[in-house]
Structure formats: structure tokens, C-alpha cells
């Protein structure tokens, strides 16, 4: 981690040599430096000039198109103005009723079910007056039956839910004793379908449980390092194409406990606007300076990198010890994929480090299921720290970090999770080993390749059909996470309930996980969903969309005849 003085090294010739063949909007007479030595207009990614304001922010026009080997199509259609106004009006009316109910609760006209301060605390700073608590009491509670639904079967393509009923408007629930069977599961993170209770993975896990038991009883550093842990780590390193890897018992803890080990005071972290809570927690715990760049926006990131290198640390203007860029592979609330080729180009140019969180993209993207690096056909040695979780595509739990051997050896001794957290239980380890071997094709069957292809076919089909029906869908065309916009607060509750009536389980998301007017329903596709299941689900979604008036999109409906090509998967090159 040497000190850096970049000002002298950014000459014009080196900037020209670095990326040949880059179709950049640079002109000859822009290569001037101003008085204080800050060289302007050498940016790799200039702002593309927009001469027309279009309804859709289609981001498939990239200035450096030679970096992408296939088209990168993302769309985040803008909220229609009428819908935004009506949504604000709805929230306003519900807020007024919220104040009315708070008034009744305060004057004891109505029984209060919610947490309250005690009499002795009333003169201190109020605990429950902020907007989040107001929102929880008055808005979330009314539609609470859409969340935390108890499950009583394996979360595969179909799932069984415990039937429950509430007699006092969602303050308390009672189980009726019945079970809602065979609900189509569009909410679980089960991209390759390894969450199952029959098959090779389960048999291997049972054998291992009979050999090792379930609990480990110690941390990795003391007595909890088993031979299957070592085998798993070597397998993960081979899967990712890195020198060495280390696994942890919990995915959230992997991020929050290891980022503080890698950076400290005097380092700079550039993190994306929409990063997950575990990344934000880890970054804040580390004590480094944090700067947030706009979501997936390379111009914003480059500007921050240049400012950081030129101006250095805030008061002393010394160079930063390290600059770490923290991004995710797939952002699960937006369905967008990170622009990895551009970030790697920026990272190499400005000599920063890259931390890539592939929680949702490992196993789900790429022709071989090796994640977003495989999807863009890049070299995994370019990413300094590859992190991911085993929850989504491998049907297990836990996380891993992969990278150079020196880095992982350092982490083995200094990570808080390795020192204090119990290591992964043996059946979970065996589940990951078996499923990873299936994905790589090493068990002798083509099950892994079949599932990867099925997932990408399902994704393309589902997204295209939803788009053709007229819903507003966010995100990249190849991402298996599909957020569908709902906007109005009453429709959040109505959508969840209507879908459950038609035997389809969906996840709806509102504030505070998303901005207040952009509430959405999020579908997670799986390789176990057959075409019939998807058709049933799409039929129901269309029905509910008509009933609730959810088809907000304003693009032209395409002719069915032109679009009916056979299943186009991105694997058939």
C-alpha cells in the first residue's frame, strides 16, 4: 500500500496510450491544462450529449462500445406524472389518518398496541416520533399480512404457506390450522433451484451429517477448521478462477466484518448509491472516508476518482493510502447489472482497488454460471476482492471472499469473522460442495449446464412477456431479478393479497427499502420454474394488472408476429 502522487504521472501521452481503440468523444484542442495543474477533459467517459429528452432512459448507448462484447440494455422508465401526483396524494391522505389515529391513541380513546414510552421518560427526547416509526405504526401495520408469511415446506418452485387470519387489523395473527398448498414461488432466491429436499446434494449432506454431526463448536482459528472447509475453499478458488478463497458462516457478516479489516483511517471508499446494508455497515465500521457515487454512473465515479487523486485527503492534502471501489454484481432492488468493463478500465487507469459483491449474480449470470465476470468475459484477476454468498444460487448459507493468496492469508488471521464467529456447519458445506460441482459439470451429468440455460431462457421469456403486457419493469434484460413498479401505497397491499388469492406468492417492497413513491413487486425467477408455471403466473399477473390498473408503461406495444422468435438464450452464440 504505497503512497501515491498521481499528478505528475497523468501526462497526455500516457492517457492516449492506455486505452487504444476507445471510441471516446475527445477532440484535439481539449488537451490543455489549466493553471493549477488539474488536467481537464481527459476523462475516459464523457457525458453523452442528449439532444432529445426521451421518455425512457435507455442506457444502451455507451461511448466506449468496444469494451462490451454484447449489447448492454437497461431501462428505467420514468414515473408518469399523473401517477406520481396521485401517489403523493394517497400518501398525504394516509398521513392525515395516521395523525388522527395517533391523536386517538394519545388521548386513550383507542387502545394502543404499539411500543410507547413510559411515564417517567415523557420529558426526555421522544423515541417514537420520527417518520420511520410513524410510517410503521400507521401505514406498514395495515398491510402487514403481505410480509413474514410462515412457510412449511422446502422453498422450491412451489411452496406451502401457513394460513393465518387477523381479527384486529393485523396487530395480531392466528393460525387457522390449514395450509395453503402449492403456491407458485416467485419470491425465494433460488436461481438455480438447489433448494430442494431430494437429489444428490441432500444425500451427500445426510452422509456428512452422519459423519461429522451438525454443530462445529468452535471458530475457524481455534478448533473449527475441518478438512471439508479446506476442500470447499479450494473448490471455490477453482470455481472463481482466483488464487485462493475463504468462506464464512454468514453472508451479511462476510461484508460487515471484513471490510473493516481491509481499510481504515486514511483510506477512501467509493461506494455505489444503492449498495446493500451489509456493505454500508462494513464501510462505516471501517472508519474510512466514504463518498457515494450515483448508481452505475461511470462519469460520476470517474469525477470522484479524479478529485480524490488530485486533492488528496481533506485537510492535509496528503495522498490517500488506498482507494477502494465497492460495487455489487446485480442490484436486487433495481435488477441492474454493474458496468464491470468500464469500472475495470477506470480502476486500472487510476490505480484503485475493486471490491465486487456478487451475492445475486454468482451462479445466475454468465454462460458457465461463474457470475458477472463470466458474463462480461473478463479476467477474474482484474477484480481485487471477489465476494459472494452461497444463499442464492447454491441453496445453502454463508459467504466467501476470493483474491490473491497474500490477501486471503492476511484475512485468515485478521478477520473478525474468522476469529470470533463459529465456522460453517458440515451439512451446509457439503451442500455447497455438491452443488458447485454440479454447476461446474464435474459430477458427470449435464444438470448444471441445463439449469443455467433454463434460467436464462426463463429470464428472457418472462421479462419480454411482462414488457409486452405493458408493465413498467426496471433493470437489465438478462438479470433474473425482475422489479415491477406499483407506485401507489394501496396497490402494494392489494397486489400481494390478490396474487395470493390466485395461488402465487410474491414479494412486494415499499418504503424504506425503496424511495417513497417507487414501491414495487419483485419477482425472482428460478431454473425450476417450467414454462407452464411461468405462463400461469403471467396470466395471473396480467389479470391482477387489469384489475388494479397497473399497466403504466407508455411505449408502443410491439406486434406479436415480429417478436415470435424461438427462445433466444444468450448462450446460443
Amino acid at each position: 500500500m504505497s503512497s501515491r502522487s498521481r499528478l505528475t504521472k497523468m501526462t497526455e501521452s500516457s492517457a492516449n496510450k492506455l486505452l487504444n481503440g476507445d471510441a471516446c468523444n475527445r477532440t484535439i484542442n481539449e488537451k490543455k491544462s489549466s493553471k493549477n495543474g488539474f488536467v481537464k477533459s481527459h476523462c475516459l467517459f464523457q457525458q453523452p450529449h442528449k439532444y432529445r429528452r426521451t421518455v425512457e432512459k435507455n442506457q444502451n448507448v455507451t461511448p466506449s462500445s468496444s469494451l462490451y462484447k454484447k449489447p448492454f440494455v437497461e431501462s428505467f422508465e420514468e414515473t408518469p406524472l399523473l401517477v406520481a401526483v396521485l401517489t403523493y396524494m394517497g400518501y398525504g391522505i394516509l398521513t392525515i389518518f395516521g395523525y388522527l389515529r395517533d391523536f386517538l391513541r394519545h388521548w386513550n380513546i383507542e387502545k394502543c398496541h404499539v411500543a410507547q414510552e413510559r411515564e417517567e421518560q415523557k420529558d426526555f427526547v421522544p423515541l417514537y416520533q420520527d417518520f420511520e416509526n410513524f410510517y410503521t405504526r400507521n401505514l406498514y401495520m395495515r398491510i402487514r399480512d403481505n410480509w413474514n408469511r410462515p412457510i412449511c415446506s422446502v422453498p422450491g418452485a412451489k411452496i406451502d404457506l401457513v394460513d393465518r387470519v387477523s381479527h384486529n387489523y393485523n396487530w395480531t395473527f392466528e393460525h387457522t390450522g390449514k395450509v395453503v398448498k402449492d403456491v407458485i414461488n416467485l419470491g425465494s432466491y433460488n436461481y438455480l433451484g438447489f433448494a430442494e429436499n431430494t437429489g444428490a446434494c441432500v444425500d451427500a449432506s445426510i452422509e456428512v451429517t452422519q459423519k461429522y454431526g451438525v454443530g462445529v463448536g468452535s471458530t475457524r482459528c481455534e478448533m473449527g477448521n475441518m478438512d471439508i472447509h479446506e476442500e470447499l475453499e479450494q473448490l471455490v478458488a477453482r470455481f472463481l478462477g482466483v488464487e485462493s478463497a475463504m468462506t464464512f458462516g454468514m453472508g451479511f457478516a462476510t461484508n460487515s466484518m471484513n471490510i473493516p479489516v481491509l481499510t481504515g483511517k486514511g483510506c477512501l471508499i467509493l461506494s455505489d448509491e444503492l449498495n446493500h446494508a451489509s456493505l454500508v455497515l462494513g464501510v462505516r465500521l471501517s472508519g474510512s472516508t466514504i463518498r457515494v457515487f450515483k448508481h452505475n454512473n461511470m462519469q460520476s465515479l470517474e469525477k470522484m476518482l479524479r478529485d480524490a487523486i488530485v486533492h488528496g485527503q481533506p485537510r492535509t492534502h496528503r495522498p490517500w493510502k488506498k482507494i477502494l471501489i465497492v460495487v455489487e454484481g446485480i442490484y436486487s432492488m433495481e435488477g441492474s447489472i454493474v458496468r464491470l468493463p468500464e469500472i475495470i478500465a477506470l480502476k486500472k487507469r487510476y490505480k484503485a482497488y475493486l471490491y465486487l459483491d456478487e451475492a445475486h449474480s454468482i451462479g445466475a449470470l454468465g454462460p458457465n454460471g461463474r457470475g458477472v465476470v463470466d458474463y462480461f468475459d473478463l479476467d477474474s484477476k482484474d477484480v481485487d476482492i471477489m465476494m459472494g454468498t452461497f444463499t442464492k444460487s447454491f441453496g445453502a448459507s454463508g459467504g466467501y471472499i476470493g483474491g490473491k493468496k497474500e490477501l486471503i492469508d492476511y484475512l485468515r488471521h485478521h478477520s473478525h469473522s474468522a476469529l470470533y464467529a463459529t465456522s460453517m456447519p458440515p451439512p451446509v458445506v457439503q451442500q455447497i460442495i455438491t452443488s458447485m460441482k454440479i454447476i461446474m459439470g464435474e459430477d458427470g451429468t449435464t444438470l448444471g449446464a441445463d439449469r443455467i440455460r433454463q434460467l436464462s431462457e426463463n429470464t428472457t421469456y418472462f421479462r419480454r412477456k411482462l414488457h409486452d403486457m405493458g408493465f413498467i419493469i426496471y433493470g437489465n434484460d438478462h438479470s433474473p431479478v425482475v422489479p415491477m413498479m406499483l407506485y401507489m401505497p394501496a396497490k402494494i397491499g392489494a397486489f400481494g393479497r390478490e396474487m395470493l388469492k390466485r395461488n402465487i406468492g410474491t414479494v412486494v417492497v415499499g418504503f424504506p427499502a425503496t424511495p417513497i413513491i417507487e414501491s414495487r413487486a419483485r419477482f425472482c425467477l428460478s431454473a425450476l420454474h417450467t414454462r407452464e408455471m411461468l405462463d400461469t403466473a403471467l396470466q395471473a399477473i396480467s389479470e391482477v394488472g387489469e384489475l388494479l390498473q397497473l399497466k403504466y408503461s407508455r411505449h408502443q406495444q410491439p406486434h406479436p408476429s415480429l417478436e415470435w422468435t424461438s427462445e433466444d438464450s444468450q448462450l446460443q452464440d
Binding site: L86, R142, E546
Partner: protein, 88 residues
């Protein structure tokens, strides 16, 4: 927009269509999530406000329109009389 999608759904009779329109009103204003007594309060306040608007317009709009017409016809009708008087 409402009529186009209403034609796609099969409404057997007028009652079903009106029930669907009421459902849309509940969803758009956000009343759908409230308890029944809160819905009644909001509906009665909104209904009385609309009733007052209709009553006021029924009572006052004809008078205002008549006064406005008199004002404007006084402006245009009055002119030729005065110039003719001046010439003669």
C-alpha cells in the same frame, strides 16, 4: 385509459362495473388500507364537500353568468349610441 382496460375485463352488468370503479377510487386515494369507520369518515367528508360545490354552483353560477353578459353587452352595445349622439 380506464375505459380501454374496462372493455378488456368482462363485466356482466352495470353493478359489477360500478363496483370496480369504486375499487379504483379506493386504491387511488389509498382508502383501501383503512378500517371501515375511517373509510366512512373520508367518504362522508368528500361527499359533503362535493355536494356543497354542486349546490353553490347551482345557486350562483346563473346569476354570475347573467351579470357578466350584461357587463360585456353594456360595453359593446353602449358605444355606437354615444358616437351617433355626437355626430348628430
Amino acid at each position: 385509459m380506464i375505459c380501454a382496460s374496462a372493455c378488456k375485463m368482462n363485466f356482466k352488468n352495470l353493478r359489477e362495473y360500478l363496483a370496480w370503479l369504486y375499487y379504483q377510487y379506493l386504491l387511488i386515494t389509498g382508502i383501501y388500507v383503512l378500517e371501515p369507520w375511517e373509510k366512512s369518515i373520508f367518504n362522508s367528508i368528500l361527499f359533503s364537500a362535493i355536494a356543497m360545490v354542486i349546490y353553490t354552483s347551482y345557486v350562483f353560477v346563473p346569476i354570475h353568468v347573467r351579470l357578466a353578459l350584461e357587463f360585456f353587452s353594456g360595453l359593446f352595445g353602449g358605444q355606437p349610441e354615444s358616437t351617433m349622439a355626437l355626430m348628430n
